[in-house]
Symmetry: C2
Subunit: 414 residues, 2 copies
C-alpha cells in the first residue's frame, strides 16, 4: 500500500448538517493523517438516514482505499451506522461477549448499571477487529475487504481521539498506509493579505515546476502550504523551498506547522524569563484563553482581567477616571492605561490590552463598530495601536485577538 | 419547488481536509437553511484539485436539487472553482465589467490599487446572476439549470455570511425553496447522559409513530431534535410533543433552539437586575468569553479575573494565603474564596469561579488531572461543587465551563 492511498472521511450526524455543531472530527483526523503523510482527499457529512449512510459508504468504497467513519455507534435508536455499514460491506454482525464484559466494567467504574440498550453496541463485524474504547461504551471496528480498509469510530471526542491514536494508527502502520514524512510543509504568516503573499513568493514558486502552493486566510492569518504536485520534490526540497518562502515573508512569517501566535509569544517570553498579564474589554477572555490553551502556559502567563465595565477598569487595572472621562473606554489612551495598569496590578513584566466595539451594538462616530485599540506595555515602554474590522461580533473578537498577539510578537522580536 | 428539496453543501479547500481549519461554513449554512425549513441532506469537503471539484459537482447535480459551494473564488492560482464548475455546468464564462468596477471601488476605499490577478474574479457564468460582495472582491454566482440551482459563495466568513443573508436567501425565496417553518424543534439539556434522556422520553416517543428523534451530546450538553419522519406531523404537533419532552426533562432542560447556557444565565440575571463577576484559573478566560459572546452582555456581566498564578488569586481576588497554604489552589475552599472574592472585588451580586487541573500536566493524588472545583457566591450564600472529567486539556476546559454555567443556572431557577 503506497502513501498515495486515497483517504476518505465520512462523518455521520444530523447535528453536523443543521448547524448544531462544527465538524471537529474532520479537523482532527485530517491533521493527524497529514502528519503521517496521508492527506485526506475527500470528506462527506451524512445525515442519520439508512439510505444516505449506505449510499455514502458504497460511493466511498468505489472511490477510496481507506475510509474512516465517525459517529452513529451510540446506544440510542438513531444510531444506525453499525447495522447499515455491515450490510453495505456484506459483513455479518456477531455478538461479542468480550465487548459486553468491557461495557459492564465501564459502568462498574462509574457505579451505574449497564442498561439493556447498550447490548446493541456489543455487535461487531465478523472477520474484523474490535478497537477497545477506554473512555466510553461503543468499541470501534476495523475491517479489511478487497484491498480496502474501513474504520468505524465513535462520535464523542474524548472516545474517538485516544482510540484513533492508540488503536487505529498502529494498525494503519501495520497495514502499510503510513509514511513517516508529512506530505506538505505549512508556513503561517500574519499581517499581509493572501494575494500580496502570493505576489511576493511568485519568483520562488515559478522556479519549481512541481511545486503546489495553497493559501488559506483566517482572521488575519494567512497559511501557505507547499507540497509536491507529482511527487518529484523530496522532503529536503520542500524544506529548502519553505526556508526561501519564510525568508521572503520576513517578519510576517511566524511559524511552521499549525502553531498559534500565542505559542510564539509564550516561547519568546520563556527565553527571557518574561511574564505577561492581559487586560481585555471587548475580547472578553478570548485573549487569556489563547494563552491558557498552551500546556505549561503558567510559566509565562500570570493572568488576565476581563474589565468589561468601567468600574472594573478603574478598580482592578488602575485606569485613571480622568482618562475614561476625557477619552472614553474605547480609546488609545485607555488601551495604554490598561496595558500598563494590568502589568503593575499583576506584577508582570509585560502587559497587553484590548478595548473596542465588537458590535453589533455600541460604536460612535469617532470609533465605529469594529474599531479596536490595542495597548502594549513592556520593560522598554508603552505603546498603542488602532485597527478596524468588519464582520460580526465573534469575527471582530477573533481578529482583535490575532492583531494583539501579532503586534506583541513583532515587538518581542525587534 | 417543495420544501423537501434535496440540499447539498460542497466546501472547497485543502485546509479543511488536513486539519488546518474547522468547517465553520457548513455549521453556519446548515443552521440558516434549517431555520427556513430546508435541512441540508449531505455535505462534501473537497480538495482544490480540478478533477475532484468536477467529480463532486457532477455527483451533486445528479443527486441534489440545490447545491451551495464555498471557497475557491479568490485571486490566487489555487482558486480553480469558478472555471471548473463552469465546465461541469456547461456554462460559458464571460468578463463582467460591472464586477471589475465594484472591485476597483473596493480597493479605492481601502486605498490600495487593484492588482492584475483580481481580473480572474471578474468572470461570471453567462445566463446566471451575480451576487455582489460588499466585504471583499470575489462576487458570488447564482445559476439555474434543468430545475437545479447552483450557488457559489466566497470562502472568507465575513464575505460569505452577509452575501448569504442579503443575496442568496431572497433568491431562494423567489425560487420557491424556502418554507417559513423550521423543519425540526431542538431542546437543549444539561446534566443527564444521552441514553438516560432517551429512556426518560421513551413513552412520549412511542406514542408518535411519525416522530423522528435525534440526539447529540457535546461537553455535557445533550441536544434532542424532534422532526416529522414522513411529514405527517404539523408544526403544532411538534410543539406539543416538544413541550411534553421539556416537562419530562425537568430542570435538565434549559432552552429551545441553539441558545447557550450563558444566555440562559444572562437572561435570568436581567430579570432581577443581578450582576455577575467570574474568577477562573484552569478555564483561563473561556468562562468570561462565553458571556461576552452575548451581544448586550454588559447589562449583567461586570468582568472576570483570570487568576492563573497564586499571586493573582491573592492580590486580585482576595483569596487568603492561608487557604492556599492549607488546601492548595485546586480545592473547594479556594473555589469558594475565589467566587466570594471576585464578587466583592468587582462589586457584583454573583460570583462564579473555576479552579482545577485541565492537564496534561499537574494534578496530584487527591486531585488528579481532570478534577475541577467550582465556586458560586450569591446574595443568599456561597457553595462549592466538584466535578471530574477525562479527555484532553481543551475538552476538560470546555466541560468545566458548561458545568459551572449549568450549576449557576440551576441555582438561579431554584
Amino acid at each position: 500500500m503506497s502513501s498515495r492511498a486515497k483517504v476518505e472521511i465520512i462523518n455521520f450526524g444530523d447535528e453536523l448538517l443543521v448547524g448544531i455543531r462544527a465538524n471537529a472530527h474532520l479537523e482532527y483526523l485530517g491533521a493527524e493523517l497529514a502528519r503521517y503523510g496521508l492527506p485526506v482527499r475527500r470528506a462527506r457529512v451524512i445525515c442519520d438516514a439508512p439510505e444516505e449512510i449506505s449510499g455514502a459508504v458504497e460511493a466511498a468504497l468505489a472511490q477510496s482505499d481507506l475510509i474512516i467513519t465517525t459517529g452513529g455507534l451510540g446506544p440510542t435508536s438513531d444510531d444506525l451506522t453499525r447495522e447499515t455499514i455491515a450490510e453495505s460491506l456484506g459483513a455479518a454482525l456477531v455478538y461479542d461477549t468480550a465487548v459486553e464484559a468491557a461495557i459492564r466494567d465501564y459502568f462498574r467504574v462509574i457505579n451505574r448499571p449497564m442498561a439493556d440498550h447498550h447490548r446493541k453496541q456489543c455487535y461487531v463485524f465478523k472477520g474484523g477487529e474490535v478497537l477497545p474504547n477506554r473512555k466510553g461504551t461503543a468499541p470501534g471496528l476495523y475491517y479489511r475487504t478487497q484491498g480496502k480498509t474501513v474504520v468505524l469510530l465513535p462520535g464523542p471526542t474524548q472516545e474517538l481521539r485516544p482510540m484513533f491514536e492508540g488503536e487505529v494508527i498502529p494498525r494503519l502502520r501495520r497495514d502499510g498506509y503510513l509514511s513517516e514524512t508529512a506530505a506538505y510543509i505549512q508556513l503561517r504568516t500574519c499581517g499581509c493579505g493572501e494575494s500580496s503573499i502570493e505576489a511576493r513568493i511568485q519568483p520562488i514558486v515559478e522556479a519549481e515546476p512541481d511545486l503546489q502552493v495553497a493559501y488559506c486566510a483566517h482572521y488575519g492569518i494567512v497559511d501557505v502550504r507547499l507540497s509536491s504536485g507529482a511527487g518529484y520534490l523530496q522532503p529536503a526540497d520542500l524544506e529548502r523551498i519553505a526556508q526561501a518562502v519564510a525568508t521572503e515573508c520576513g517578519e510576517d512569517f511566524f511559524c511552521y506547522g499549525a502553531g498559534s501566535l500565542a505559542e510564539v509569544v509564550h516561547r519568546k517570553l520563556r527565553e527571557t524569563n518574561g511574564t505577561l498579564a492581559v487586560a481585555e474589554s471587548c475580547t472578553g477572555g478570548m485573549l487569556s484563553d489563547a494563552f491558557t490553551n498552551i500546556s505549561g502556559a503558567s510559566k509565562t502567563f500570570i493572568g488576565g482581567i476581563v474589565c468589561y465595565s468601567n468600574e472594573v477598569k478603574v478598580s482592578q487595572v488602575n485606569v485613571p477616571e480622568s482618562i475614561l472621562l476625557q477619552h472614553g473606554a474605547v480609546s488609545p489612551e485607555c488601551a495604554i492605561a490598561m496595558a500598563a495598569g494590568v502589568a503593575e496590578s499583576l506584577s508582570a513584566h509585560h502587559g497587553l490590552s484590548v478595548t473596542g466595539f465588537a458590535g453589533p451594538e455600541g460604536g460612535n462616530k469617532k470609533n465605529p463598530v469594529g474599531t479596536i485599540h490595542l495597548g502594549y506595555h513592556s520593560p522598554a515602554g508603552v505603546w498603542s495601536k488602532t485597527v478596524r474590522y468588519t464582520g460580526g461580533r465573534l469575527d471582530v473578537k477573533a481578529r482583535a485577538v490575532h492583531a494583539a498577539l501579532d503586534w506583541m510578537r513583532r515587538e518581542l522580536y525587534k
